[in-house]
């Protein structure tokens, strides 16, 4: 049992820090640290910088243009990026579709789509959930009917994150209606420029536009856009969801978030004393810090075991639940720390160009908003309730 970083790992950490210092544009990290809105161009700029270094596809094997990093390296990279204020990598093409294509796609599909993910030509979004199929994803109804060398797609997807920026959508579609629902699902790649596709914004509770509904009406999709075998899509989806889950502990976000929270707690005063020294707040801070330190090790343990076993299993559900609860707690404390100054909300102040005087401290403007927006963490990516079902069934065998 050895928890310290090896010499190689320390060297890797230094290399990552050096890269971030040199290549992460100050404008972007300032925006991220201040909780400002990022544009599509901002994300693309950062992806291009990472891709130039060969560090965009951290979960892909080297032969496909990935980094080939192990769990510890990916963990170090995530922590350092968060600490430096790097924009979060948009996961849909790189971390979700990429691994599915690598494992289940045809050679032609790999040769065609993977480079376009890496060089930013194609911005992908995810077509999974539907209004009637959330936790019960397998009950999805979006149909794909084979007609000669095309599928005709009809239906609706929802909660499509950043769909407004996307060129392509990977969709779970129903290709067979009889038998078990899971056995009639296919995985289809759809060009969003095809006629019959409509994207409509859904505003979240904080008034932001990050998710959408996507409607398909008689959309003609070439049959070669099917990934793997017809009616085997559920297997690919499950594979993707477990892949999605390893990043979902959000350890990097929590570490950076906690550091920011402590800084806020030093600067905020209650009865003339820094909030960090108020016994009640200090207790809250200590509790979440203790949980986070344990979570970091749980994260590494699960990833290390997964590396040996060839892929993350149901243990990743633990990471999803605990990781999101800790992140949400840090958001709650940051909001709490601001006292009355958590109340003002000037939406324009989240734009990068805004330079009027803040109301209250300059770090106040985003705290409540982030707290409310991040209530989604325990809902998406497989809700925490579903994750508990997975633990009960697959780990506890109840």
């Amino acid at each position: 049992m050895d928890m310290s970083f090896t010499q190689q790992e320390k060297a890797f950490q230094a290399e990552v820090r050096c890269f971030l210092q040199e290549k992460l544009p100050a404008r972007l990290s300032a925006a991220v640290k201040a909780g400002k809105r990022l544009s599509k161009a901002d994300h693309e700029e950062w992806h291009a910088i990472l891709a130039a270094r060969g560090w965009l596809a951290v979960t892909w094997p080297k032969q496909h243009g990935g980094t080939g990093w192990n769990a510890v390296q990916r963990h170090i990279f995530e922590e350092e990026c968060c600490a430096a204020g790097a924009p979060r990598i948009v996961p849909f093409g790189v971390n979700m579709l990429g691994p599915v294509l690598i494992k289940f796609g045809s050679e032609d599909q790999k040769a065609h789509y993977l480079p376009r993910i890496l060089d930013g030509t194609d911005w992908w979004c995810q077509g999974y959930s539907e209004p009637g199929a959330g936790s019960d994803l397998a009950s999805l109804q979006c149909k794909a009917v084979r007609r000669g060398d095309h599928y005709i797609v009809d239906g609706q997807k929802t909660w499509t994150t950043l769909g407004q920026h996307a060129d392509w959508i990977f969709c779970l579609v129903r290709t067979a209606g009889d038998g078990k629902p899971q056995e009639g699902i296919s995985f289809l790649l759809i060009d969003m420029a095809i006629p019959g596709i409509t994207v409509r914004p859904i505003l979240t509770l904080d008034g932001e536009h990050e998710i959408n509904e996507v409607f398909f009406e008689g959309v003609k999709v070439p049959a070669e856009n099917l990934v793997g075998e017809e009616n085997k899509g559920w297997t690919y989806a499950k594979y993707l969801l477990t892949h999605e889950r390893t990043g979902i502990a959000g350890v990097g976000f929590s570490t950076t978030g906690l550091a920011h929270l402590k800084s806020v707690a030093q600067r905020q005063k209650a009865h003339g004393v820094p909030l960090a020294d108020d016994p009640y707040f200090a207790a809250r801070l200590a509790r979440v810090e203790i949980e986070l330190e344990a979570m970091k090790t749980t994260n590494l343990r699960v990833l290390a075991a997964a590396a040996k076993g060839g892929g993350p299993g149901p243990e990743s559900s633990m990471l999803k639940i605990k990781g999101t609860v800790i992140r949400q707690e840090i958001n709650d404390l940051t909001r709490r720390a601001l006292g009355p100054y958590a109340i003002p909300f000037v939406s324009e102040s989240l734009d990068q160009g805004y330079n009027e005087e803040p109301i209250g401290p300059d770090y106040a403007g985003t705290a409540a908003r982030e707290y409310f927006n991040n209530r989604k963490l325990s809902i998406f990516g497989g809700s925490n309730e579903i994750q508990k079902n997975i633990i009960a069934k697959a780990l506890l065998r109840l």
Binding site: G134, G272, D278, K376
Partner: protein, 379 residues
């Protein structure tokens, strides 16, 4: 022992509930909060006509209620409807005038109750957090009058008020409860600037800057240096009001969630059939009833001795914060993705519930205060 409300109070509740049902749909409110004022002056006029502003004041001051249970009933109904009109601001500033004002000053309350004059209570400051005694804004003697200099922060409905009740330090050191005074300041006073902004839970507030604002002697409200007990008293009314409002909002959030659990089908059945969710709703019910009881305790204690009163007010505000967070987070979670959308009423209720903890002292502040008060009571 009788836990039913009087006929008058039930009528008051029915009046507001009917108004909200017929004139204050969620979509209406969504539009209201987009406007510059962050509330609807026409709705305020409607409330005035229904006599609801009068419910904030005692009969002697031209109202018809103003007692603990009147406020609890009124604000619970406002919370159920997510009403953003300036009832709280009117309560805080108006009751300060009622408590401390001269006959001339109290005569102004008629225009407040009729909806013509908008009031706001300018007390908290950038550094004060929840400490009622932390007032640094100075009021210096200027002949018979005073000159006010300093800042007030997050003044609820401060952007639209016609008249402010402002706390200022006339003597004593920073943080002293002694040495505070209250003043009536016209919003158009020379040297007073305000910066209005939206609040994240709907409604609006403002930062105020007093730059050598000259006031006549008649602007002093109550006894000089001795305003703290008035401030504490109106803050107490405000705490009861906020806890009641939060309770009402929680009731609506709970109802919306219950309805959703019955309607939303996944895995071939309504998700309310799943035991795990049933248990969580049961927990929520228990906690909301606990808060209701604490509101009753606080409303009843308003006329008790100071320590009993203040302990039950800190108790209800503590519970309001703790239970509010649970209810808000659970209701969103139990709705899944739809609980996160702007178009749906539920998350707006949750935002209001949570942000109430940022006014007049949060969960931790009141837990500490409860402990301190307990020590005072039994040294």
């Amino acid at each position: 022992m009788d836990f039913t409300h009087s006929d008058d109070r039930r009528m008051l509740a029915d009046t507001i509930a009917r108004f909200v049902r017929e004139n204050y749909a969620f979509e209406t409110r969504a539009e209201i909060i987009q406007g510059d004022d962050r509330f609807a002056r026409e709705k305020w006029a409607d409330f005035a006509e229904l006599g609801l502003i009068g419910a904030l004041f005692e009969e002697a001051d031209g109202g018809f209620g103003g007692g603990g249970f009147d406020l609890a009933v009124l604000f619970e109904e406002l919370g159920k409807g997510l009403v953003v009109e300036p009832f709280l601001a009117t309560l805080l500033a108006g009751r300060a005038i009622a408590l401390a004002g001269s006959d001339d000053q109290k005569a102004m309350l008629a225009a407040v109750i009729s909806g013509e004059t908008l009031l706001a209570f300018a007390h908290s400051e950038p550094q004060s957090r929840y400490d009622l005694a932390d007032v640094a804004l100075k009021a210096e003697r200027d002949g018979d009058g005073f000159i006010l200099s300093g800042d007030k922060s997050v003044v609820i409905n401060g952007g639209t008020a016609d008249l402010f009740v402002v706390s200022a330090r006339t003597s004593g050191a920073a943080g002293d409860a002694a040495g505070l005074s209250l003043f009536l300041v016209d919003a158009k006073a020379d040297g007073l600037t305000r910066r209005a902004f939206p609040c994240i839970d709907g409604g609006g507030a403002a930062e105020l800057k007093f730059d050598a604002v000259k006031l006549p002697a008649s602007a002093l409200l109550g006894a000089r240096d001795r305003a703290y007990c008035v401030i504490e008293a109106v803050a107490g009314l405000g705490i009861l009001a906020l806890a009641s409002e939060a309770l009402g909002a929680m009731e609506t959030a709970k109802t919306l969630t219950l309805d959703y659990l019955g309607a939303r089908k996944q895995f071939g059945r309504p998700i309310g059939a799943f035991q795990a969710l049933q248990h969580r709703m049961a927990d929520m019910l228990i906690e909301i009833e606990q808060l209701r009881s604490a509101v009753i305790n606080a409303a009843g204690a308003l006329t008790s001795d100071r320590l009993s009163r203040e302990k039950s007010l800190s108790a209800v505000k503590y519970l309001c914060g703790k239970i509010g967070r649970l209810v808000a987070e659970e209701c969103i979670q139990l709705h899944g993705g739809i609980g996160m959308t702007w178009e749906y009423a539920l998350p707006h209720y949750c935002k209001r519930i949570v942000m109430i903890d940022h006014m007049l002292g949060d969960e931790d502040h009141h837990l500490a205060r409860y402990i301190a008060l307990s020590k005072e009571a039994a040294p």
